[in-house]
């Protein structure tokens, strides 16, 4: 047939078609799309503002009755300003910034990404159950492309979500660092893309042979909260017990969160060893590459009928 010459011989053909299919399921469903946007608003608005750690260090925490004889107005002013100074130092030491909300909001970028990545396992199982996977496997599309399309759609969704999280954070009063420029946001998108590739690949690899929808859900329940809490997303690593620090220091989410904070809210000299921006990118990049390769290679063997 004359049309035959127009068939693509590219090894990666079908990648965008499958990626776009997964994305359409999300952006064409108004309810799901709206929930994606609502999620960071609710999480940050409620959780972020409720953990008002900075308020612990305020003069109001010290009742005036504690002093006998009562302090003079001048003494009160002095105490108040020294507590505020103390608060700034403690907060800066622990969190790298003076307000916990900014610290936590950037951790939310990692958390949102982790949640999105963990859902990619669910979509593999759905495709298997509904027979869609079999149909795709009977076409010339390679298994590599099938896996990469899942990873890619999840990574693109994560970038969008990271954007929403940042916008919401700004509305709620995020304090930028002195190094912040418009390019910093591109840096955030890049690191989010990488970590989501790595995490999605792992969640997909675990669920390659799963036939029940409960399996990816159990995997999510098992891993997501521990992974996020054994990282610097909501609490600084150097204040954890030392054995937990060891775990947190290999967790790629720690490096992701650190990179996001360095790009967005840290000023010069902030942020702690062993992290640095180039090392964060190298670590997360290597994690993404290794995980994706694992996912793809396992799919050659296990992504069958």
């Amino acid at each position: 047939m004359s049309d035959d010459e127009q068939v693509s011989k590219n090894r990666l053909h079908g990648l965008w078609a499958l990626t776009n299919r997964d994305l359409k399921k999300w952006y064409k469903a108004p309810i799901i799309f709206l929930l994606t946007i609502l999620q960071p608003i609710v999480w940050m608005g409620l959780l972020g503002k409720s953990l008002n750690i900075g308020a612990i260090f305020s003069p109001r925490q010290i009742p005036s009755i504690a002093f006998n004889p009562p302090l003079t107005l001048a003494q009160l002013g002095q105490l108040s300003s020294s507590i505020q100074g103390l608060s700034a130092t403690v907060m800066k030491n622990a969190f790298g910034v003076t307000d916990y909300f900014s610290f936590m909001a950037m951790g939310m970028v990692s958390f949102a990404t982790l949640l999105t990545a963990s859902f990619s396992g669910v979509s593999v199982v759905w495709d298997r159950r509904l027979g869609f996977l079999n149909k795709v496997l009977s076409t010339p599309v390679s298994k590599t492309v099938i896996i990469l399309s899942k990873v890619l759609s999840s990574a693109l969704r994560s970038i969008f979500q990271a954007g929403i999280v940042i916008i919401v954070a700004i509305v709620f009063g995020l304090k930028f660092g002195t190094n912040f420029t418009a390019f910093s946001i591109l840096g955030v998108f890049a690191i989010v893309f990488l970590i989501c590739m790595g995490l999605s690949s792992l969640f997909i690899a675990i669920n390659l042979r799963a036939t029940r929808i409960e399996t990816p859900q159990a995997v999510m329940t098992l891993f997501t909260l521990p992974i996020i809490f054994v990282s610097n997303a909501f609490f600084p690593i150097n204040l954890m017990p030392s054995w937990l620090q060891a775990v947190a220091n290999v967790n790629p989410l720690s490096y992701t969160t650190d990179a996001v904070r360095r790009l967005m809210i840290f000023s010069n000299g902030m942020g702690k060893y062993p992290f640095s921006l180039p090392f964060d990118f190298a670590y997360v990049g290597a994690f993404a590459a290794v995980s994706t390769i694992i996912g793809v290679v396992l799919s050659w063997r296990f992504l069958n009928k």
Binding site: M1, D3, Q6, V7, S8, K9, N10, H13, G14, W16, A17, L18, R21, K24, K25, K28, A29, L130, G131, F132, N134, K135, V136, L137, S138, T139, P140, V141, N304, K305
Partner: protein, 333 residues
């Protein structure tokens, strides 16, 4: 190129080292024919299809499609075949048109070509006016039609249909048959299908392989298979008590006679012609025929003879499975 489009030699699939799903089957499918696998659930029909379309690796044996080995040249095989699965696999969250374009993309067909093809195919199965509706709003028949044309988007030379009319109403079933016949006639397509509906195999297939417990019991045209049963059955009763068995046996074209209670079961070639001859011969001898009936052999009898069981009860179980499948689909929404 040879006339054999599909060539299968000793194809075998063993699951988990124990379960022999397909047991050394051999057959060929000729260019432009509709070849049917007839058998109950679990006979190995779908497993055979899955091996031929390269979804499953054979444990043993060889098969080639248009000269390409299914194990070694699987990309060539996939490019030249189309597959219409048993289930509804179209994406419910996309429109019919989007589903077709997606299928086309999986074959690497350029957009300019696939857009036109998708519209043509939707017209062919009268889905054009629903093309921008989400598939979840389609009826069962519409979804079946969409599945059919999804399998045609790459203009395959060989089309595989797995239970193409499972769970469809009579009207849609006949429409599907006509569509399959049209594919054969207009496009010279070769079709391989599985079915457990006897009348479907009889009406549609040029040749049938009866498969049971992973083995092919017999292959032939529906006429050959039915002819192999020894012809039509004439059931007859007369007024007198005399045994006429030996007398009837001598009449031309009569193959065999058996007396059962008051009736004689007469196997005869070409029953429509032989029956009047028998009546005439009996009348001349003074016997009065009180009852007579003629039964043509059905595929069910063929099936019974080769597998030792009827397909009737198997069908009922299948409908139940289908209903379950639909419940699951609804629960998802």
């Amino acid at each position: 190129m040879s006339e054999d489009v599909i060539n299968v030699e000793g194809l075998t699939k063993v699951f988990n080292g124990r379960l022999m799903a397909v047991d050394h089957v051999n057959f060929t499918v000729k260019r432009g024919e509709i070849f049917g696998f007839l058998g109950p659930n679990g006979a190995g029909k779908t497993t055979t299809i899955n091996m031929l379309i390269t979804l499953l690796r054979p444990t043993e044996g060889k098969a080639s499609i248009l000269g390409s080995d299914i194990a070694k040249e699987n990309v060539d095989v996939r490019n030249s075949i189309g597959f219409v699965p048993q289930e509804y696999t179209a994406d419910e969250d996309l429109t019919g048109y989007e589903n077709l374009l997606l299928c086309a993309d999986l074959y690497g067909i350029q957009r300019a070509v696939s857009k036109k093809r998708a519209i043509d195919l939707l017209n062919l199965v009268e889905l054009a006016e629903f093309k921008d509706k989400l598939v979840q709003s389609y009826s069962g028949g519409m979804r079946r039609r969409l599945e059919l044309v999804c399998g045609l988007i790459n203009r395959p030379k060989v089309l595989f249909l797995d239970e193409p009319t499972l769970g469809l109403d009579v009207q849609t079933r006949v429409a599907t048959w006509n569509f399959v016949r049209m594919l054969k006639k207009e496009f010279g397509m070769t079709l391989f299908m599985t079915t457990h509906y006897l009348e479907e195999a009889d009406a549609l297939c040029d040749r049938i392989a009866i498969i049971d417990h992973g083995k092919i019991r017999v292959i032939g045209t529906p006429e050959e298979l039915k002819g192999g049963l020894g012809g039509d059955t004439i059931t007859l009763a007369i007024q007198k008590d005399t045994d006429i068995t030996e007398f009837v046996k001598k009449i031309n074209h009569v193959v065999d006679v058996k007396k059962e209670n008051d009736a004689y079961l007469i196997k005869a070639e070409n029953g429509e012609v032989t029956a009047p001859l028998i009546i005439e011969a009996l009348r001349r001898e003074g016997y009065v025929v009180t009852k007579i009936s003629l039964t043509k052999p059905t595929l069910n009898e063929v099936y019974l003879q080769y597998t030792g069981k009827s397909l009737q009860d198997v069908e009922e179980r299948n409908e139940a499975n289908m209903a379950e499948g639909l419940t699951f689909r609804r629960a998802k929404q």
